[in-house]
Symmetry: C2
Subunit: 210 residues, 2 copies
């Protein structure tokens, strides 16, 4: 489908948003549902998505983002937070949720739960955190794709101070860590970046058939 490619060519990492334009509630609901439906390893969804509406907090987060104006000027600011730890309690909750959704006895899923527990118990704290944060990157990929479908601009950001975000948002006490930031909204007419040609490696450089 040519539309997918057109949409992905239309998108770019927006540098300057038009702060007067807001993403509709309907579109925001769609994007949040896309995040909710994103697949993750074992279906554990080791993350939480924060939508920051509070202006004062967004000002504080801008300070932790090297002053990038997208953080305050975009319609909505989404912070993709991944879990620091993941443990047996999270797995038990996932097993219970699975049993509930599918109308089966949790006991019937004991093997699935034990398998996950066995895998995860082998990871040290740092490896767990890395694994959890990787899952948030899948969600970012899906979010950006959906934004392009809906012609909503977005700025995927790794360029911020994660520890600063964790502090402003009180994340660590909640077993969370700011993995990625994504302001969404509508590009300003003044944003010169929208006119820059997209830079990507050639197919030959990037893809190999074996």
């Amino acid at each position: 489908m040519k539309t997918i490619i057109d949409n992905l060519n239309w998108r770019y990492a927006t540098k300057k948003f038009d702060s007067s334009k807001k993403v509709s509630q309907e579109n925001l609901d769609t994007l949040l549902e896309v995040l909710r439906l994103t697949p993750s390893s074992y279906g554990l969804q080791p993350y939480k998505f924060l939508v920051i509406e509070n202006k004062e907090i967004r000002e504080k987060l801008k300070e932790k983002s090297w002053g990038q104006t997208q953080v305050t000027d975009a319609s909505h600011l989404i912070v993709l937070c991944s879990y620091l730890d993941i443990n047996d309690l999270h797995i038990d909750a996932h097993v219970a949720n699975t049993a509930d959704a599918r109308g089966i006895e949790p006991g019937a899923l004991k093997g699935f739960g034990d398998f996950m527990k066995n895998t995860i118990s082998k990871l040290d704290a740092e490896k767990k955190q890395i694994w959890n944060s990787k899952q948030a990157y899948i969600a970012l990929g899906q979010l950006l794709h959906a934004c392009a479908d809906l012609k909503i601009d977005a700025t995927p950001m790794e360029g911020f101070d994660p520890a600063g975000y964790d502090e402003v948002l009180g994340l660590r006490d909640k077993n969370l860590h700011a993995a990625l930031v994504c302001p969404i909204g509508y590009r300003s007419e003044e944003d010169a970046n929208q006119h820059f040609k997209k830079v990507r490696k050639s197919k030959e450089d990037l893809i190999e058939f074996i």
Copy 2:
């Protein structure tokens, strides 16, 4: 748009593919272009995508995937490989590519190049590898979204032996590492998993407005 959500609800991690059904060249081209257009940190695209067509190699990779039949039965097998190292040479190539695409002098981008070099030189070998591999997860998110748009089934996989893949495909000598595997094709009518209800956390558990 309801279609996006319908598509994402339609998709599931396919357990059994119908090996007689092939993804068309047109659709494969679209999916590979989606991978090519995926955004990455600084636009560095520290990855390579392998499409494995060779049947013998796919048999060997199945052995490194705990025997999962998707690896051999799917229409196409995509291996998302991330760079092991990323260094000044990669950044110079990216700067040259940017200058070429936008018709400007490479010298005008020296500041951009130096900024990236400075950032990346602070990362040790392990951190570079993790950072590179995270970028491949964004690509996976975009790929799965595009597959759902095109009603192509897919199985996002972390459950394989990365070192085994690296060995079979001779990746390490090419500065590459198997980060993710994604067979694509069409579900078998016999795959019971397609009838299982999707399990996701509730909005309340997953999303917070601040």
